[in-house]
Symmetry: C2
Subunit: 355 residues, 2 copies
């Protein structure tokens, strides 16, 4: 019942532990005969090396950390980062690694240089840092301490770090292009914190699309401090109080778009007849809004998979130059933009509350 250890295998086969270890790890210095016998027995008893033992001698834990700011975690929020983590888990499992989840609280300031128990305890070989609002000082400290890192949905300027992003600019470009193609002239933008890479890039895509079409941005471009349903709601109300009302509303993410839907409905404006509303992310709720939300899908699991791949590659070869990877997006046309003629790509269960 007690699992076999290398020592036991060595004993049963009448060889030394060193030989067994070499055989198991494909190292030279073992005869074909002995090697075969070792591998056979190992397979038979489903031998797996003891994690801590191996870790102690190799200084490798075969484990990655997935770090996310506690605030962006669920509790009513869309589980965007959980989807990313799921992608990470699948990818690393395929390569024999594990993931430890850790959500960091607000910097408490009790420690001069912020750090993570995970790291101090040497429990991880590398970290995936997800989300735009992780403490800069923390990231820098980890990087300078030599911890292999990959950033997801975030960048750190002036620093050679691996970064995985969704192609937000391209997605926004496509979205706004789509609206323009359907005759919208007055497209307002509900933005988020400009220091977040994703929201900044989406804003850039918005402006670029308009410029490319020779149009001007809608007079009032809002930049909210948060990207929640509430902020989308209040921003839309402020927008509607203006003299000229937009014909389309591009929210920087789906949560804000949902807030916009609510504000419009309360003001008696019909969506999409009076004003079109589109979002970004394709969160789970987007297909259940009324009307179902046209949006730009982000492949969240894919982001996780790619980030994990980058990190594992870097661990295998620490000299790999850092790189920035963009994961493509996809336009999801539902009813909230009124562009029924556009090609509709929908999964079977979507649009449960078709209007």
């Amino acid at each position: 019942m007690m699992p076999m250890r290398i020592k036991d295998i060595a004993e049963r086969l009448g060889v030394s532990v060193a030989t067994v270890s070499r055989a198991l790890n494909d190292k030279p210095g073992v005869g074909d005969n002995v090697r075969r016998r070792v591998l056979e027995l190992a397979a038979e008893v489903a031998f797996t090396p003891h994690g801590a033992g191996r870790g102690l001698s190799t200084a490798r834990t075969q484990t990655l950390g997935f770090i996310v700011r506690r605030k962006v975690f669920p509790a009513g929020r869309d589980p965007f980062y959980l989807h990313i983590m799921h992608g990470v888990e699948e990818a690393v499992a395929e390569r024999g690694y594990h993931v430890i989840l850790s959500s960091v609280g607000d910097p408490d300031g009790t420690r001069p240089t912020p750090d993570l128990p995970l790291v101090r305890e040497n429990r991880v070989d590398g970290l995936i840092l997800a989300g735009p609002d992780l403490d800069r000082a923390l990231i820098l400290a980890l990087h300078q301490a030599g911890m292999p890192l990959v950033l997801v949905d975030n960048i750190l300027r002036q620093t050679a770090l691996d970064v995985v992003l969704s192609d937000d600019r391209e997605g926004a470009l496509a979205m706004v292009g789509h609206l323009l193609g359907h005759g919208h002239e007055q497209i307002a933008f509900l933005g988020g914190p400009p220091q977040w890479i994703s929201t900044a890039e989406r804003a850039a895509g918005y402006h670029e699309a308009l410029a490319g079409a020779g149009k001007r941005a809608f007079a009032t471009v809002v930049h909210e401090a948060e990207t929640t349903v509430e902020s989308g709601y209040s921003a839309t109300r402020r927008l509607l109080a203006q003299a000229v009302v937009p014909t389309a509303l591009f929210a920087v993410n789906d949560s804000m778009a949902i807030g916009a839907l609510r504000a419009l409905r309360e003001q008696g404006r019909r969506v999409p007849a009076d004003v079109a509303v589109v979002g970004f992310d394709d969160i789970d709720a987007a297909q259940h809004t009324h009307p179902p939300l046209t949006t730009v899908r982000i492949f969240k699991e894919r982001l996780g998979r790619v980030a994990a791949g980058r990190l594992l590659d870097r661990l295998a070869d620490p000299a790999t130059p850092s790189q920035r990877t963009y994961v493509g997006t996809e336009l999801i046309i539902r009813q909230s933009c009124g562009c029924v003629l556009a090609p509709v790509r929908e999964e079977v269960t979507a649009g449960s509350t078709l209007a």
Copy 2:
């Protein structure tokens, strides 16, 4: 830069590593003087024991595994279990533990007794097994191997295991009681797989409520093999084809309720005017449906916290008798049941698409 190890502390203080270890672990056999100096220095350099080293000598990893069936994970599904995991993470972090996420695939049958790499590698002290459709053989094998376990949203009859469940029967009782109290006579039930504890208990609560009120169950009680939007949709269509149509529809979970909303809408029935629809779970999407969905809220993070607590307690004292814990639910009255008079408890951002 290199983190200090016990050896270094011992050297700096001119004592032995054993003494340092004893001081750090609050063990007797250390003078007050030396102890103080050790603790001071340790605090100063933010010493944290090396995970693998400690793990190797104590056979404790300070790590828990969170296991979930791959199929129930996101990719379009509601991240129910991710919320649970989040609760787990918060709870264990407070007690200095870590969580490793692992989603298990379908049993591939290549191994006579199913097991987990996590366990064979001795990476975890215990496991939280989430979801009703984990392989029975796996659970039993782990249990018999002496691995501390806690089940969430699942039970294993005939086995003394710690179990954490939401109080589904009570929730269903309250929900159906609420409908009855508002005059509904014909309440249909859209059920799920009866071997799942949660769906079975909800069905039981439904019948119990009706029996308590002296009513009979609606002639056709449906039990679907899946609890998806699609199955809710098709089950509702079948129901509507019957001679007598219910006045209220109680779906065993929110996904099915969403499917029901779609089917009703397609058939031209108004919700809640013609037929009330209620669900269970309070998934993220429930507040964005049209109309917003009345449902029974499950405290998913709390489930995770409680499960983690049970497991940690058991690790601290392996003799703890196994126990079954029920986490209460909460009726969330929104618009889909038409019972506007009931007390409405809503968070601020809810009901974004108020009808």
